[in-house]
């Protein structure tokens, strides 16, 4: 379970670094991540942070549930 959540965290990070690598190309493609002053990039970053925090809280929740089960 731990590994899965770690991998799921890595995924958006990898995606973002891919977008970063493609920056040197001169041709502007019809890419949603590049339109509207690249606001979508900001949304991706913020969502990544939010997912990370939520996963962290969810894991804490599960750990405390386990502790509660043990003490009963």
């Amino acid at each position: 379970m731990k590994i899965i959540s770690k991998i799921s965290l890595l995924f958006p990070a990898l995606l973002l670094s891919l977008f970063g690598l493609a920056q040197g190309k001169p041709v502007q493609m019809a890419d949603t991540m590049r339109s509207n002053g690249r606001i979508y990039v900001v949304v991706a970053v913020v969502l990544t942070i939010l997912t990370g925090l939520i996963l962290y809280v969810a894991r804490l929740d599960r750990k405390i549930s386990r502790l509660e089960k043990e003490s009963n």
Binding site: N36, I39, Y40, V42, V43, V46, L47, L50, I54, V57, A58, L60, D61, R62, I64, S65, L67, E68, S71
Partner: protein
């Protein structure tokens, strides 16, 4: 995870807030410009704080009615989470104000010293300090029952102080902060467009539920600790 439907609701609403909050349509206003989107973040912090403090005081009253130590733990943890949201609201407000109220010819940090004299900010600071005092008072008493009883009574006073310091006094005094004319962020005619309210209300619920989620975690840990101590 038990009873997880409202936790999922919180996550869904927050994801929605972050997507619609950045991509949605907002009114084009001078000075505010894109910073109007802070409504979904900065203002929600205060809404969440107010709701969490209310839950805290309700639990203090429940403690005084039943003398069940459980409610004292609830009250304390909800107050702590309320303080966290209050601090976040204060800090985000400081950043926002530094770039919208401030003199653009001065460095943002310099103009903050003048902004910080605004009655709304002083009121919020007083409210937060009163709650800090609640934590210090409650946690410095060794005896369990005394701690809970004095803490609960003080919490009711702290809640009462919230109203003059953040709801009444700042509206009587002249302030740069919006809201002197009525209800800040809720006034449809003057403040925000209908499309913004479609994001704002879900955002308030999402942030509040996140606060409640984290608080329940702390409460459960605390209750486990108590159980261990008494065993």
């Amino acid at each position: 995870m038990h009873k997880s439907w409202w936790k999922i609701t919180s996550v869904v609403l927050l994801v929605y807030t972050f997507i619609a909050g950045f991509l949605g349509n907002v009114p084009h206003l001078p000075l505010l410009q894109e910073t109007i989107r802070n409504l979904y973040f900065h203002v929600c912090m205060w809404f969440a704080m107010m709701i969490l403090f209310t839950v805290s005081v309700v639990n203090s009253i429940r403690y005084l009615r039943t003398f069940n130590i459980k409610y004292d733990i609830y009250a304390r943890q909800y107050a702590v989470m309320g303080i966290v949201f209050g601090l976040l609201g204060y800090i985000t407000g400081a950043i926002w104000a530094s770039y919208t109220w401030a003199d653009p010819n001065k460095a943002a940090a310099n103009s903050f010293s003048t902004i910080a004299r605004d009655p709304k900010l002083i009121g919020a600071a007083i409210a937060l300090l009163v709650y800090f005092a609640y934590l210090i008072l409650r946690d410095s008493i060794q005896d369990m029952d005394k701690k809970a009883r004095i803490g609960a009574v003080y919490n009711i006073f702290a809640y009462a102080i919230l109203f003059p310091s953040i709801w009444i006094l700042p509206r009587i005094l002249p302030s740069l902060h919006p809201g002197n004319e009525g209800n800040p962020a809720l006034d449809v005619k003057n403040d925000i467009s209908g499309s913004m309210r479609l994001v704002f209300y879900p955002a308030v619920i999402g942030w509040t539920l996140l606060g409640v989620w984290i608080t329940t975690l702390k409460i459960r840990l605390q209750l486990l600790n108590e159980k261990k101590m008494s065993a």
